[in-house]
Symmetry: C2
Subunit: 375 residues, 2 copies
């Protein structure tokens, strides 16, 4: 993306900083650094002054690479943690910040990392620390056209991955081998990487987070595949449930109910709707189908640089340090179908990445949803 895109984002960040009385942002989360500068990597930091000056600190080994990728005003390379702390102190000095408030990423920093960023040799004593999470989340929530294009590309790669994953489903294969084919297909289709893949089978389809194991698939079992490629820095999120051989009537019925629930939520996904309304739409249909007690987890969440990001439904948002999102604006991208229908012996789930349009939704992850053979 052009550098003026990042300049404009920094400008928007500064406006929010002003409104919230924050004098500097001190970021270490790669997704946030990438959004504001064009580059985000481990063991690095970005400091933004309220006037819009951007300073970066990265390992000395990485300075030239970051110069090529990122937009910033100042950069310093460091050799170790002590020099990193001094680099932070240096930029506080250069920006003339001796008091006021610095915004940190409370939903990202561990105690140990926070200890480094706010070390007495890094942060001036007079500068108070506050949570800057919501500034970054609200900036990233509505996508620019360039971002939507990247998420579309990621969604196409997600469909390729799902095609390979579903094709690998057969009795005797392990969950991990199904994940292997989906992941390889995503990389070959253009992904630079992916977030953790979930592949679960049989009784494990009832789990909230079915990370792949070496369990072998058996005939008649369900298999849940949930993958999240990263293409050009942007993610997509797709989940399908398929059966090893012909599904049972109970499996068919539950799956059909879930599809109706997902469709009800997707149809409501247009500008002005709230995340809670989408949650209610999906859960409402499942409840009417007699499975109100069989849902777990927030059924909708934002998708962008991270495969799971703001906006979140209000309850979930609160406990994860995010705020309740305003009614969704056009060009917000969300995943619909993040919670499963968990019957006990097995579960079903279908998830798609959806673009909120001014007049209606567009499903970006195009791949058949059928449970049984013939898919």
């Amino acid at each position: 993306m052009a550098r003026d895109v990042h300049a404009a984002r920094v400008k928007r960040a500064c406006r929010l900083m002003g409104e919230q009385g924050i004098d500097a942002l001190l970021l270490a989360k790669p997704a946030n650094m990438f959004y504001l500068t064009g580059d985000g990597r481990l063991c690095s930091f970005v400091m933004v002054s309220r006037e819009g000056e951007v300073a970066m600190g990265v390992p000395t080994t990485d300075v030239e690479d970051v110069r090529r990728l990122a937009r910033f005003d100042h950069i310093v390379g460091f050799e170790n943690e002590i020099m990193m702390i001094h680099a932070i102190s240096h930029f506080f000095g250069q920006f003339g910040i001796k008091s006021g408030r610095v915004g940190l990423e409370y939903t990202f920093l561990t105690q140990a990392m926070k200890g480094m960023l706010t070390h007495p040799h890094a942060k001036p004593e007079g500068v108070a620390e506050v949570d800057g999470t919501r500034i970054m989340s609200s900036l990233r929530m509505v996508k620019e056209e360039g971002e939507v294009a990247r998420i579309r590309a990621s969604a196409r790669v997600a469909a390729e991955g799902m095609r390979a994953g579903v094709a690998a489903v057969r009795a005797g294969a392990t969950e991990s081998m199904v994940a292997a084919e989906a992941e390889r297909a995503m990389r070959r289709a253009g992904a630079e990487g992916f977030w953790r893949s979930y592949v679960s089978s049989g009784p494990r389809t009832n789990l909230a987070h079915g990370v792949a194991t070496t369990r072998r698939l058996r005939r008649g079992e369900l298999v849940m595949i949930d993958i999240h490629p990263v293409v050009d820095g942007y993610s997509a999120d797709i989940c399908r449930t398929v059966c090893v051989g012909p599904p049972s009537d109970a499996q068919r019925t539950a799956h059909a109910l879930y599809l109706r629930a997902q469709r009800a939520a997707v149809e409501k996904a247009r500008a002005g709707v709230t995340m809670d309304e989408l949650e209610e739409a999906l859960q409402g249909v499942i409840g009417e189908g007699g499975h109100a007690d069989h849902v777990f987890g927030p059924p909708v969440h934002g998708v962008g640089i991270e495969f799971e990001e703001a906006p979140l439904p209000s309850g979930h948002a609160f406990f994860h340090g995010e705020e309740e999102a305003p009614p969704l604006a056009a060009n917000t991208v969300i995943a619909v179908g993040n919670c499963g229908l968990y019957t006990g012996p097995w579960g079903v789930r279908v998830e798609d990445t959806v673009l909120i349009g001014p007049r209606g939704p567009t499903v970006l992850t195009r791949f058949p949803r059928a449970l049984g053979p013939g898919r």
Copy 2:
């Protein structure tokens, strides 16, 4: 592993809790929960009383699965964050803990997660929070025979992954496609998963963390491949640098120097050595070779449930919330070669997982180290 293994680990944890005046551990890091109970998963917690009672809280969807996998005294399923907070409060009550100190994982918890675990409705007001990181790290540092066997299995899978990754190195392939083949081979060889793969090429081999991109390899360039499978819950760590076609003299010389440095450190890896001595051994040889300014990052770290865990060299440990490790005992497992030799235009690095034996080291990740063709 048999359940008495976990009972014995809890007993050792209780002894350390007693020594440090900690009345309960409240864990949320999957690696630590897995170590003490046999199961560790997202959105869950484990509470351990000083008397050795173990309570778990997991999503209701997961209760039966956890019953099958974990050793514990009490379990509760929760539907959402509010019920999770109440479950924590419930166990504080059941254990009769109204005052004293609870140990949390400061190197793992974000501010938001810590806020949930210590919510006024979760933690009794009279209970102070302290960092329990070092208790768990010191427990996990020396491996039991069963753990060593799993790390050996993981190291064999790592070698299979490296074989496939190196075989995929050719002009025109992307870094991501090299990662794809390594990852797929690890899953097919028995890995249930892997930690993030690093594949970098050309100028990107000079980066501290060369995460794969869609950059295409060119003839004469170096390619650095760093992979970390997980087998039966345990990791291994291997890195190799290879050339696309014949390497230049400068590349050969730097690589040979790095191999000498790595060998010097591996040869010292026996019971009684310190992590700092190993660091000095590796960096010393590189320094004598004229590249003292071209190293970055700690060259050694522990390997186990996580591919990078305690012990760490003292400087790095301090900033990451860990303590300086005592001289290494037999059956500690470490990775040697975690820092690269970064010349500017390119870097080289070779890393292996090494078992500290009573009389000497055993390199577990057996794969040729050659830079050029004919490997």
